[in-house]
Symmetry: C2
Subunit: 502 residues, 2 copies
């Protein structure tokens, strides 16, 4: 009896790791099938500021994976739940791989989108002037140009990869294949809000989340759109700073020259945080960062075209934090992501505003400690003469302190980084390179952030990002889009990962 | 025949300048009558960005004055028309006084108002905690507390004074009195947008606008709410500055440390425009300003309570442009009235914004030349390394210049100032002081601006402001209001002006 089981397992195994798949054909067939799935998924609003919308996403994702034989568990948190999907290998000794992606998108401002609604996805192609023009979605029933794009919030960040995974799973099923490993999928519903509950959740469900390798389906592929493996990501902290003028906005004529202006106070505070070349001047901000020869070597293989990048972005001289783009990602960054005082344009009134608000994000690298970066920022603000609060100042505080800055921060998470030459790194390169004749681009780190460091530190698992979407996807701003060429190639990559023997 | 006409005129004259009016009773009676007029007028939206709304205001004002025997003429401009109302004295030799007020209000942001709609005026009284609480408008039918206020856009700036004038005209009519002068009233419908067409209009209709004295019914009375005469006002220029980052907002993780941030560039540009004490550092900005002993003497009689002002506004140390509040108004000012880059709070995204916009207003005094102040600001920006444009930069300009600033300005108008001891000044003091037992506060200048300097320079007329509304009226911001005590006192003041022999 025991023997026969072993034989059966071996037979199953043989089928399982068949390498003779037509990746191109499978990705085309199942990609096409799932273009309607993509449209349906993108039509569900997914700003994590709105819980009712997120719950619709949750149910949708849960149903999709249940239909494909996954078990689904809700991992509740104090904010929004995390969805844990699982499908066990028939081999009880099988290793476990865990995939991560997120189903929420950045906030939207409808008026900035060149389409009716960011949650009504549309198909566009570039016209002769280089402008994106809408074409009927039904054009997808005919021959598909890989340069066409689907425009809609979360199309690239990060619902697109979710749909690629569904298509790849169906391609495996149709080929009568299944992975030789147990598969866990963690779906996050508040990544764009910083996944604040994830660290405590990982602690709580440590045994349920145990796995041998964590793959993150998020972030952009290299600008060349070649298959990309990214071995780390920066972490992130966000801070909101508020400076104060009078209690209420005041007529700027009647009080100008007498009542201090909070926007000027904020400008002075922000201006000195960085030098004219974009380097942070806050003491100790870059502490511990060393760019060694090995890293420089890795970077030198990345096929970046910086002149083209600068022209595409419309800038003459980039910030001089690193000597080139990839080097700049090795350092922590400090960015003013939003700034507001009073109103501009049509709503502008001739007033002295009562407050100025600056939204800051700090990208953290492995060598930096998030708490220490924040306390350095705080120390800098104090050194500029500000009294720091976490609430709007009381009349007593206003009477006592001339310069007041409210400092609000949200939980931060750190960076992570995995060795390119590790066993997992080599396996990934093999799994992906077999699906394509092209070079696989290996990047030491992504500039952006994914809330992965808590997994790495708590579970001791190695984590690697498999980014698939086009880098010019307008991620985080209006008119986010997914290039169809990347969509089909992404499915190919995922079939490669699901079918490669771990 | 000739003789009898003279006799009749003398008889009329005798009635006309009767000084035995019960100002208190008249202002109460006709003020009460016109509280419904005020409500009706404030219910007409009046942001000059919306022409259709303004035309409703125009028709309303025209009808009100026509009903009171005024002739009405439309003075068309390239923007919005000006309304010229006229009522001639029966004495063909009579001098002419011209009144000015405006019927438009500042833009509104409904969400910031503590009432349903800024254009649905409500009555409020302060509760025990010092918060304004709505009470039924019908409370005005009973005993009226002078501390109650009507909340609504333009209640103080500047429709309230318009209604006070209607009430005062009716009080005169009921007393069978009329002014001994020809009366012209200029109603402006785009004052809050800078009255850009007024200078050319004054040139064009010079003879129609000729008059012996111009009185401006606008701006706040002294904080003591004593009757106030203000002998000048600062002029104003507004400038919009735009700095540039990438063409479109970019993911701050993927591009942070490489793509320059426009908000940082703007912060650096603004930070150095003023020192830590709020003094403008742009070379030559205060050129020509001398604070002489005569002015210091005038200022010393103003009953300001600066400690109370600072506490009310919630500031510890005021800007140090002048040695006190009134002195600060003698200097030109530079104010950041609006600042925006990316989004803050719920809409904040983790991006590098593509632009930063700063709205600046410069208040001009008599000694400063508006054009010269603007060119000094421009020179300062160039000295900071910026290339200046008036349009968004082209790809070629972006490739050529690292720092780019769009500089857009609207037509400016200058300051004006009239001698306190002039014949007109003394007449005004007499006309107003007879209506009250209180001190008349005489201010050398108002900090705010009224587009009066073109009248003064083109027509050679002396201009004086008769401000009536409460200084804490939230002018230009949300929750603008008019204190009823000021409303009734303002009517009294206007009856004084209409009944005093010029």
């Amino acid at each position: 009896m025991k023997k026969s089981i072993v034989v059966v397992l071996l037979l199953i195994s043989k089928v399982t790791y068949s390498q003779n798949l037509d990746y191109e054909k499978l990705s085309q067939e199942f990609g096409r099938k799932h273009l309607s799935t993509l449209k349906e998924y993108l039509s569900i609003p997914c700003d994590a500021n709105y819980k009712a919308d997120i719950l619709k996403n949750y149910t949708w994702v849960e149903n999709q994976f249940k239909q494909r034989g996954f078990t689904a568990r809700t991992l509740p948190t104090l904010t929004l739940p995390v969805l844990l999907l699982e499908k066990k290998s028939r081999n009880v000794m099988a290793p476990t791989l865990m995939f991560y992606y997120h189903s929420d998108g950045q906030p939207v401002k409808n008026s900035e989108w060149f389409q009716e609604d960011p949650f009504k996805p549309v198909l566009k192609q570039k016209d002769a002037n280089g402008d994106w023009k809408e074409i009927p979605y039904s054009s997808l029933e005919g021959k598909i140009d890989p340069e066409w794009r689907i425009f809609g919030r979360a199309s690239s960040d990060d619902k697109g990869p979710g749909v690629m995974l569904l298509a790849a799973l169906d391609a495996m099923e149709a080929s009568k294949l299944s992975p030789n490993y147990n598969l866990k999928i963690v779906v996050d519903f508040e990544e764009e809000k910083g996944s604040v509950s994830l660290p405590s959740l990982i602690k709580q469900y440590k045994s349920d989340l145990k796995s041998d390798l964590l793959l993150i389906f998020d972030g952009p592929a290299h600008a060349s759109n070649l298959p990309t493996i990214t071995f780390g990501a920066r972490g992130i902290s966000t801070v909101t700073l508020t400076t104060y003028g009078p209690y209420l906005p005041l007529h700027s004529g009647h009080y100008g020259n007498y009542i201090p202006n909070p926007a000027l106070r904020m400008a002075k505070l922000l201006a000195d945080m960085k030098d004219d070349e974009g380097r942070v001047t806050i003491p100790g901000f870059y502490e511990g960062i060393k760019l060694d020869d090995a890293t420089r070597l890795k970077i030198s293989t990345v096929p970046d075209d910086l002149a083209a990048l600068n022209t595409r972005m419309g800038i003459k001289i980039p910030d001089q934090v690193g000597q080139n783009y990839q080097e700049s990602l090795i350092y922590p960054s400090l960015n003013i992501r939003g700034l507001k005082s009073g109103e501009v344009e049509k709503l502008a009134a001739t007033i002295i505003p009562n407050t100025a608000i600056a939204e800051i994000d700090i990208r953290i690298v492995k060598q930096s400690n998030p708490d220490s970066l924040l306390s350095k920022l705080k120390k800098y603000i104090v050194s500029k003469g500000f009294y720091i609060t976490t609430e709007d100042p009381s009349p007593e505080e206003r009477a006592k302190h001339n310069l007041i800055c409210k400092f609000n921060t949200r939980p931060a998470y750190g960076a992570f980084s995995t060795e390119m030459q590790s066993k997992n790194g080599l396996w990934l390169e093999k799994a992906i390179s077999k699906t394509t004749n092209a070079q696989v681009v290996k990047l030491p780190t992504m500039g952006g952030s994914v809330p992965i460091s808590p997994f790495v530190s708590e579970l001791g698992v190695e984590a690697v990002i498999i980014p698939t979407v086009n880098s010019d996807n307008n991620q985080h701003s209006a008119n986010e889009n997914l290039r169809l060429g990347n969509y089909f190639d992404g499915i190919k990559t995922m079939i490669g990962l699901l079918s490669e023997r771990y």
